[in-house]
Symmetry: C2
Subunit: 427 residues, 2 copies
């Protein structure tokens, strides 16, 4: 028999609404799974069993109707919570609490969701890794920076989790952990209470085990009713196969996977054409570096001045050092390139609904020292377009691989609908 914690969020919600499942039973099942897997996976920075059970009892005694009624969720520990600590993955903020819930947590709770804890993040959602291990093989990274959220969803600790992406921090761990990861359009979700890192790129993302679950979570966060995704007519779907300028850095297994997925979507009726990114995308790696180098050391000006000894070498010798070499003109030039990329992508995707492209260059790297590269993620984040990673089999090391779909800015629901269709074809 399926444990409640292994149900999709959509199915769990249906059962709760029908009275076939209680929020209490669902939360207890999640807590049991956590007890079983946490010693190996270490996905959690903070877990509040008593509060989760109290919230479940309240959900069970309530009237229902909330979009996320009774559904447990986790929040990456850069997302602030009034009743649990928020450490941002930094020793500077051990035990730290804010007086508020981040907007996304407040919206999810208002929709009936049950926050059961805070998941491990790389330091300030940047590079220095947390303790979490890949649930498929603890000798490998789960990816990051939303490490705990992806790992927790992957092993059934929680059906839904929030993360953030400034480079590749949602899509990468989703692919490495074999779950669905959705990075919203830039500006899709309110970021109040989500620790600012690089404001021009910071984006909220959601993890689930199906596209429909992620879509339900998104509706809850936006304050919408739980309207199911519309079925997509695959024959009407115009898909661009986007190998990107980094194709030769993708492992052969990934290249083969993406080509194969594109062929299968085509065979299922979609129109698939080759898609070449506008030339300005080749310049983004350099120009975006200056945006990061300007914005990040300023966003952490207080910590750098007052707690320098508690900041990682990764950050001090990376972005902070870069910042010392960055001028206002380099920064503004970077912003102009970003806007040019956004405009030119919109134009290039005029007759395309969705792009298909790698989520990562390969499987999760061995060891926990690095959370992996954002090579196939950062320029989409910078372009502000929504992306989603779908689990798509395993690589040569038997670790998960993902395929990434890319949509149009603020047409996130259309991307999710196309992704649900694609997931069905590729299943």
């Amino acid at each position: 028999m399926t444990e409640p914690c292994d149900l999709t969020a959509v199915e769990a919600r249906r059962r709760i609404d029908r009275g076939d499942l209680t929020a209490d039973a669902l939360v207890r099942s999640c807590l049991d799974r956590i007890a079983a897997r946490e010693p190996e996976v270490e996905a959690w920075e903070h877990l509040d069993r008593a509060a989760a059970l109290a919230a479940a009892r309240q959900a069970d005694s309530g009237q229902g109707g909330g979009t996320l009624r009774g559904l447990p969720f986790a929040a990456k520990d850069v997302i602030e919570t009034a009743d649990m600590p928020t450490t941002y993955g930094s020793p500077i903020y051990a035990g730290h609490r804010t007086a508020w819930d981040a907007a996304c947590v407040a919206m999810a709770r208002n929709a009936g969701g049950i926050l059961i804890g805070k998941t491990v993040t790389a330091e300030f959602a940047h590079r220095a890794p947390g303790k979490t291990r890949n649930p498929w093989n603890p000798g490998h990274t789960p990816g990051g920076s939303s490490s705990g959220s992806a790992a927790a969803v992957a092993c059934g600790m929680v059906p839904l989790a929030m993360g953030t992406q400034t480079g590749g921090s949602v899509i990468r761990p989703a692919a490495y952990c074999g779950v669905v990861g959705y990075k919203g359009s830039f500006g899709e979700f309110c970021l109040f209470g989500v620790r600012e890192q690089t404001r021009s790129f910071d984006t909220l993302g959601l993890f689930g085990r199906t596209v429909a679950d992620v879509a339900l979570f998104r509706s809850g966060l936006l304050g919408e009713a739980p309207v199911p995704l519309a079925a997509v007519d695959g024959a009407a779907l115009r898909i661009g196969l986007c190998r990107t300028m980094f194709w030769d850095q993708a492992e052969p297994a990934v290249q083969a996977l993406i080509e194969d997925c594109a062929r299968r979507l085509e065979a299922a009726g979609a129109t698939v054409t080759d898609f070449t990114l506008p030339p300005v995308f080749r310049e983004l790696k350099e120009s975006s570096r200056w945006i990061s180098a300007w914005e990040m050391p300023r966003a952490f000006a207080y910590e750098i001045a007052n707690h320098r000894d508690k900041i990682s070498k990764d950050m001090l010798e990376g972005r902070v050092a870069d910042g010392a070499n960055c001028t206002y003109d380099l920064y503004v030039g970077g912003l102009e390139k970003q806007r040019e990329a956004q405009r030119s992508l919109l134009d290039a995707m005029k007759d395309i609904d969705v792009l298909i492209t790698p989520s990562t260059p390969g499987e999760a790297p061995e060891g926990l020292a690095s959370t992996g590269t954002s090579l196939f993620n950062a320029f989409w984040t910078e372009a502000g377009v929504p992306t989603i990673s779908l689990p798509a089999g395993r690589g040569p090391k038997q670790l998960p691989l993902g395929v990434q779909l890319v949509g149009h800015r603020h047409r996130d629901r259309a991307l999710l609908e196309a992704a649900a269709w694609a997931a069905g074809v590729l299943a």
Copy 2:
């Protein structure tokens, strides 16, 4: 003899560097002025005399060189501070403290500036007014929402102060209080630790008594050296006289003032031509309302759900009620209009360096019930361009009037240089 608190920031810094003035004497002078004027003006939410004097002693014993060395400044109380409370102008957060300084405060302190206190703000930098009175006539509003910052600078309590503008919250109080108010380009300053209200419009602004002071403050906040503004050749300056679509709502005194200022700048050598805003600007009032209606209730989702009884009617019956009628499509449509306005303004200003336009429709309204209209401010904020209000005489009630200059996004220094020239001509 001029009191130290009446010196410009530039002059005070020069004297401190030369050893002709101590930070201690400057801070004491500011505190004396505060003691004299505060009972009438009520500019301060929190004042920390001991901490300010301790910071002054430290500045006096230091090596100097900091861009803001020894200069006292104030921060609007929506700007977070580790060592002083931050209340956001809301009873929800009475006595509340954060574990950090906002990035702008940290940057100013790193540059040697001395934070002497937090200034009164309208509730969450929105509409419900604070206690501050106009220093020119206590029966009138100082404008808002950066009420205390503008009033404090106006009466010599502090040479420099920070504010924020989402509609007209910097330019309006600057004009009403007869000081220089500068709203940076959208994205000019890091907003970490500045309470998010409407993320698509939220902007940091600075108050001072001269353009050069504001420019010095800006350099400190950006982490730049204190390079004086370059002198502008007025004959090379291309100025657009922008009456806007709201010209007939400006009082006759304001219309006459702006026409007169334009003529005087022309007489001083500048090329002045009539400038008409692109037609899309007529649609911004409606479309931007949906951006506010979507973003603000989400940014305050926690407070609305948990502290509704402590939120003003202004906010609940305004933005929060609007939010209930706003859909995702209306929101995204608003964002598209905003981008269209930004693009079309850039194009329309191709051969223009600076626009001249009213700061407000008239003098500060009587009473404290309203902080005034953002009629001549909101669309510039939405367009993301930098603006500055220069004091320009008095109106029929003997209260200050301002003239507003508008520049190009992220060419803030060029705007400040043009403004310094204009201030000289109009003095």
